[in-house]
Amino acid sequence: MESVMVILVGVLVAVATYLILSRNMIRVILGTALLSHAVHLLILTMGSLKKGNVPLLSDSDGPYTDALPQALILTAIVISFAVTAFVLVLAFRTYGTNKTDDLQELRGNADE
């Protein structure tokens, strides 16, 4: 399963990268969102999968699956949510003032 997941992560990363390399700001933001999903899965996979029970002492006896990556991912999810929210707002404010969502047209130049 680990290998399968790593490959899935690779696919997600590739798609995310392609999106990040596009000109449309929404696509780029979606790319970063997708990248964060991929990364969270990667962290979980790196903590080795399905090799134990749910890490709840009340629910089952050990061995438990590695709980630390789960805690890390939780923090990461929250942070990525915060960041995504901010980026979205920034993006539409930028669109609102610059009247374009094409990052190519947002290059700006020296004589402004």
């Binding site: 970063t32 990248l35 962290i43 903590g47 923090t75 003032t97 610059n98 700006g108 402004e112």
Partner: protein
């Protein structure tokens, strides 16, 4: 006692939150910001003395012993940077008091500044690699807001680029963390170091360290500086100065820790790559600074030169070079803040950014002009100002290690700095004055005060170098011999 270690991070955060309730009361906001920062400064100075006297200090949060809990580790290196960062923030805040405007102040401006400095201080102090990520994010989120705050067309546009690149970088950081945890199974930096040392840094671990290198390089502006020029040129002066002083430093700090503490065992590969990246950064910085036609561009590319130079010191990697790195980091924080404040002030006074459209400022604003000149000399590394000591130490390190190419590039860069900054001085400060007396925009006391404060710091860091040396030596000792750090962290709980 060791609880004080948290103060540089928690006090700004708490004040920042409290300021939310004081919206509208600008005076109280300013006062609280200033008081908090001064308290943090006093505490960090105190901690510095303690650490110098009794060795590395650590604070295990909730009392969980490393490597299981998170901890702050106060060594001289971290605390020096915390101290200087706080000083710079004080200066930039004072500058902001008289320039930023009520609209910003009522939009939680000081809260964000405090959060930024909290994130920076936390990044310096933390001993846990995942916590470093979180501290980074505190800093970055605050910087995202600050860079975009109240922006028009151009500011928002550049902010978006800055934010997007940094977001991608942050997620790359997580990739690196995932790999690290997968391979090493721990997050405490000292513990990582012992585990890496245990197996010798094999190619897999070196690969991981390189992922970290790329991630931190994005933050440090080491070769991956593409976000930097745009985003430093748009925010208000005090923010730009704060960015120039702090943001890249945190990235560099992380790189330094990574390759002195956690992954120091494969230097033929890692340090060679760092050296190449540093040289390329220097070249890019020199090109940008020499080719720049407006003050902001010139100042911005000077930031890159600073980055490249410091990273040269890391690539050289011997005791003298590390001392130089520590010293130059401190200098660069102060001097870059100064440079950006000066540049911002020039724009404020003239409404111009292009060098040749300004002239004769020194007649109208003599004190300001001379302060800029002092900053120029400091940045070039002219003794006895702050840039000199670090430069010499890195130079000595390079000679000791026989890295003559790095030495040459590094020292040539200071000529580029001279050339680019001198151009501003000659074209904008010297020359026929074009501002008639009636049109003179007055410089407010706060603005001048912050410049004088930073200048005093630069002079102190140069002339008073001897007072700094014990700390710098202590800091470099840890970089040279990570076991000091590791022992301090993992002592007594194996």
């Amino acid at each position: 006692m060791s609880n004080l270690l948290i103060a540089p991070m928690i006090l700004p955060i708490m004040t920042a939150v409290i300021l939310v309730f004081l919206r509208g009361n600008v005076r109280v906001q300013r006062l609280m910001t200033l008081v908090t920062l001064i308290v943090v400064l006093i505490i960090s100075l105190f901690l510095l003395m303690e650490v110098e006297a009794y060795g590395i200090m650590r604070l295990d949060f909730s009392g969980w012993l490393p490597p299981y809990g998170i901890l702050f580790v106060g060594d001289a290196f971290a605390l020096l940077l915390v101290t200087v960062a706080t000083v710079v923030t004080i200066a930039c805040s004072i500058y902001a008091f008289s320039t930023i405007g009520e609209a910003h102040e009522n939009m939680f401006f000081y809260s964000f500044v405090l959060m930024l400095v909290a994130g920076v201080n936390g990044s310096f102090l933390t001993g846990d690699i995942f916590n470093l990520f979180v501290c980074f994010e505190v800093m970055l989120l605050a910087s995202y807001v600050l860079v975009a705050l109240g922006g028009g067309k151009r500011q928002l546009r550049e902010s978006l680029k800055y934010v997007l690149i940094n977001v991608v970088a942050s997620w790359m950081f997580l990739v690196a963390l995932a790999y690290l945890y997968g391979a090493i199974g721990t997050l405490n930096m000292a513990h990582i170091a012992t585990r890496v040392a245990e197996v010798g840094q094999d190619p897999v671990l070196t690969t991981i360290s390189l992922v970290f290198l790329i991630v931190f390089s994005l933050k440090a502006g080491l070769l991956l500086f593409f976000w930097l020029p745009g985003s430093y040129s748009v925010p208000p002066t005090s923010v730009a100065a704060l960015f120039a002083a702090l943001l890249t430093k945190v990235g560099m700090y992380a790189i330094i820790r990574t390759f002195t503490l956690m992954f120091p065992h494969n230097q033929e590969v890692t340090h060679a790559i760092i050296a190449i990246m540093a040289v390329l950064t220097l070249i890019a910085g020199m090109a940008g600074a020499m080719g720049g036609r407006d003050v902001k561009t010139i100042a911005t590319y000077n930031v890159l030169i600073g980055v490249g130079f410091i990273m040269l010191g890391l690539a050289i990697a011997n005791e003298q070079a590390f001392m130089g790195v520590v010293y130059y980091l401190m200098h660069d924080m102060v001097a870059k803040a100064m440079l950006f404040l000066c540049v911002g002030m020039m724009i404020y006074l003239t409404g111009e950014t292009v060098v040749k459209n300004m002239s004769g400022l020194i007649r109208n604003y003599p004190v300001f002009g001379w302060l800029y000149f002092v900053a120029l000399c400091a940045l070039v590394g002219i003794p006895p100002l702050s840039g000199f000591v670090g430069k010499i130490l890195i130079g000595q390190g390079a000679i000791t290690s026989g890295d003559y190419v790095l030495l040459a590039v590094g020292f040539i860069s200071s000529i580029a700095v001279l050339y680019s900054l001198l151009r501003i001085f000659l074209a904008s400060f010297f020359g026929e004055t074009i501002i008639v007396l009636e049109d003179e925009v007055p410089i407010r006391k706060g603005m001048m005060g912050s410049l004088i404060m930073l200048t005093a710091c630069m002079i102190f860091l140069g002339l008073g170098a001897n007072y700094m040396m014990p700390f710098v030596e202590a800091a470099a000792a840890v970089l040279v011999d990570p076991s000091i750090y590791i022992d301090a962290v993992l002592r007594g709980n194996e």
